[in-house]
């Protein structure tokens, strides 16, 4: 079987995973929190955008409102709850975000329902380019471009600004950074804000490429975590590549009949193999 069409197909999903993975890594580097609510933030953004378009609001405005709300929720959590958990163990901080994820998921399921046939249409869905004989929709190409642009922008923020310097300082050593006057809460809150923004955009793209469903969007975080682990939760370019690899693997496994019905596990298996090859010492726990 020719695998190239599946590589092309994996580009869109890979871009969403890459965007999500980068969003997770930015926050983890700055605050040491692995945000399990990332997918739920994205879900809120996508559902709000869809709801507003149903009510006649133009798609561009709806999408901006959706992303703004997910960004606002993330910022509020980063400002109100995260500082109170800052001195707790990383596992406790991660589990707290899991609680937030389930709360938001429950809210979406209650208000918008589960298993309801609905679609979030983007005007770019039916424009396409042919790649390896596959129609690659403009939406998927935009997802890739947005992922690359946002990663570039964050890279510039980290390397060229005082805020970026503060983020890098926190990532290096939180206690020393606080002692020398880095404004920890502000930097943390900004990392949450960026996390919410990435989640909001990824949520809208995934809702379009795949499915506008509370469960699908909330659990977007799971393959994104696998991709972030491939980047050892520290490297932004690594997170991007990890996300693209996760999307490609999921797409390519369709071509393997024995594994096709388990392909959602592909990103984890890839992350496990990666950790085994690279070594656990340089993996998740390396920054502790």
């Amino acid at each position: 079987m020719n695998l190239l069409p599946f590589v092309a197909s994996g580009i869109g999903l890979g871009a969403v995973y890459a965007l999500s993975s980068v969003g997770l890594v930015i926050l983890y580097r700055a605050s040491g929190t692995l945000n399990f609510a990332f997918g739920a933030f994205g879900g809120i953004s996508a559902f709000l955008a869809w709801q507003l378009t149903q009510d006649g609001v133009p798609l561009a405005v709806s999408s901006i409102v959706g992303v703004a709300v997910s960004t606002g929720i993330a910022y509020a959590y980063g400002r109100v709850f995260a500082p109170r958990l800052a001195h707790r163990d990383r596992v406790v901080r991660a589990i707290a975000t899991l609680g937030l994820a389930l709360f938001l998921f429950g809210g979406m399921a209650w208000y918008w329902g589960v298993g309801v046939a609905r679609r979030l249409v983007l005007p770019t869905d039916l424009n396409f380019v042919l790649l390896f004989g596959v129609r690659l929709s403009l939406t998927r190409l935009i997802a890739l471009a947005v992922a690359l642009a946002m990663i570039g922008a964050v890279g510039l923020l980290l390397s060229r600004t005082r805020i970026g310097l503060g983020m890098r300082a926190l990532a290096s050593d939180r206690n020393i950074s606080a002692a020398i006057g880095v404004r920890v809460v502000q930097i943390d809150s900004l990392a949450w804000l960026l996390n919410g923004m990435f989640a909001g955009i990824a949520g809208i793209l995934l809702a379009n490429i795949s499915r506008l469903d509370p469960g699908t969007l909330t659990f977007l975080v799971i393959p994104a975590i696998a991709a972030a682990i491939m980047a050892r939760l520290s490297s932004l370019p690594g997170a991007f590549v990890g996300g693209m690899v996760a999307g490609m693997i999921e797409a390519l496994l369709v071509a393997v009949p024995e594994a096709a019905n388990l392909r959602s596990a592909g990103p984890y298996i890839a992350a496990l193999i990666f950790l085994m090859i690279v070594g656990a010492g340089q993996g998740v726990g390396a920054r502790e």
């Binding site: 589960v114 298993g115 679609r119 659990f219 797409a251 096709a260 959602s264």
Partner: protein
């Protein structure tokens, strides 16, 4: 004076017409006494997937609406029905626990309206041990091959074969893909299509997809890579709609004929896809009458839902839940003494019931007696398509071409059951 009398007569006529039209709109439920039932409650249960890989609450909602209507009209000889439905979360262990709670703790007499991907797998043997019958909507083989379960729906195997057979008969398909999400028991449907293909000379390729993966684009590429003439895509209408979106992006309707089972035949589905692209290019099996059918029983379902159903979705699942509830009520009403109504007598009453004639189904719904070891009373169905954004009937009732129905057809011949006159 004359004009005053005439005016009075006209007024009386208007009042009478209003009364008659009100009486016509009132639903027909049980004994129709208009009196609220106040006796000892009759517990009835359902185990339904309300979360997990699918959500199917519509049949429960319709059964509850009909029972509420019966309770407001004398109940079962004065005894009201209490309806308990549990969510199996699409998980086998949860489904087993839910059945034990309902049958063991609540002591339900019969299970009505259960709709689930997995419930029959978990509970078919348990129901036999407890002498409890179940009438609902089923998906895996255990729902159609158990002594104690008879479903109102035809089932995915029958519905898929009917849709595929339409593609063979009317669209000239010689090769076909059977696509279904992988879950316990899902191979029953595609195996049925493979058996049908062997009999009718259609090459069937089965594709089992990951129900969790959000990547529908690659799945469509996998379909197209087979080069098949047609496809039967199993699944719920919401995931199906997204697969069709991905298919549209590849202009896949120009490359193969797309058919679906009845789960896509919902009121919301046309708005969930690009109806212009799929206009006259999607063939859907319909196991029950059109939702707007003017048939007497279908109109009664609408009246019941309007009066007691609240905002519950009106779809094929809802029609089936109504039939399940109505069959159970009719059977229980044959038990003359209300004090004699218990699990054993309800089981016997349903097993020995007269076939229920309804215009919602193509054939009467029947149990087949206490000795019947398998049940598939609905296997004559219709085909519809999307035309101008609306469901349009393509052909009337056609008997299913499943080679596995030999025993069922022999039983029906013995019982003298044929396609309903009202459905022809």
């Amino acid at each position: 004076m004359k004009s005053a009398v005439r005016l009075l007569a006209v007024f009386a006529g208007i009042m009478l017409a209003g009364f008659v039209s009100q009486a016509q709109a009132a639903p027909d439920c049980g004994e129709n006494t208009g009196q609220k039932a106040t006796g000892k409650p009759i517990p009835i249960g359902a185990v339904t997937s309300m979360s997990g890989i699918g959500s199917f609450k519509e049949a429960d909602d319709a059964a509850r609406a009909y029972f509420d209507c019966v309770n407001a009209n004398g109940g079962i000889h004065g005894r009201p029905i209490t309806y308990h439905d549990e969510d199996d979360q699409s998980q086998l262990d949860v489904a087993a626990q839910a059945a034990k709670k309902l049958v063991g703790d609540e002591g339900v007499y019969v299970m009505i309206g259960s709709t689930s991907f997995i419930e029959c797998i978990a509970n078919a043997d348990y129901y036999i041990k407890q002498n409890v019958l179940e009438i609902g909507l089923g998906i895996p083989s255990q729902c159609f091959q158990s002594k104690n379960i008879a479903e109102v729906n035809a089932g995915p195997r029958q519905s898929g074969i009917a849709g595929a057979d339409y593609a063979r008969r009317k669209l000239g398909a010689k090769t076909l893909v059977c696509s279904i999400p992988k879950f316990p028991g899902s191979d029953y449907s595609c195996r049925g299509l493979e058996e049908w293909g062997n009999k009718y000379g259609v090459k069937v390729t089965s594709i089992y997809s990951d129900p969790v993966s959000p990547d529908y684009g690659s799945l469509v590429l996998q379909f197209l890579a087979t080069g098949a003439d047609a496809i039967m895509i199993y699944g719920t209408d919401d995931t199906g709609a997204r697969i069709l979106d991905a298919a549209e992006q590849q202009d896949a309707a120009a490359k193969m004929k797309w058919t679906t089972p009845t789960s896509y035949y919902t009121v919301r589905f046309p708005a969930a896809i690009d109806s212009k692209y799929w206009n006259d290019r999607l063939w859907v099996n319909a196991e029950l009458a059109p939702l707007d059918s003017k048939g007497k029983d279908n109109q009664n379902w609408i009246a019941v839902m309007d009066a007691y159903g609240g905002k519950a979705l009106r779809d094929s699942f809802s029609q089936a839940g109504y039939i399940a509830a109505r069959v159970a009520v009719n059977a229980m009403l044959t038990i003359k003494n209300p004090d004699d109504i218990n699990r054993n007598t309800v089981t016997a009453a349903i097993q020995n019931m007269k076939p229920y004639e309804t215009d919602i189904l193509c054939m009467p719904w029947y149990w087949g007696g206490p000795e019947a070891s398998e049940h598939n009373p609905n296997h004559v169905t219709r085909t519809v398509t999307l035309h101008d954004g609306k469901w349009t009937n393509l052909e009337g009732c056609v008997a299913d071409a499943d080679p596995g129905l030999a025993n069922i057809e022999a039983m029906e011949k013995k019982l003298g059951i044929q396609i309903s006159d009202t459905a022809k």
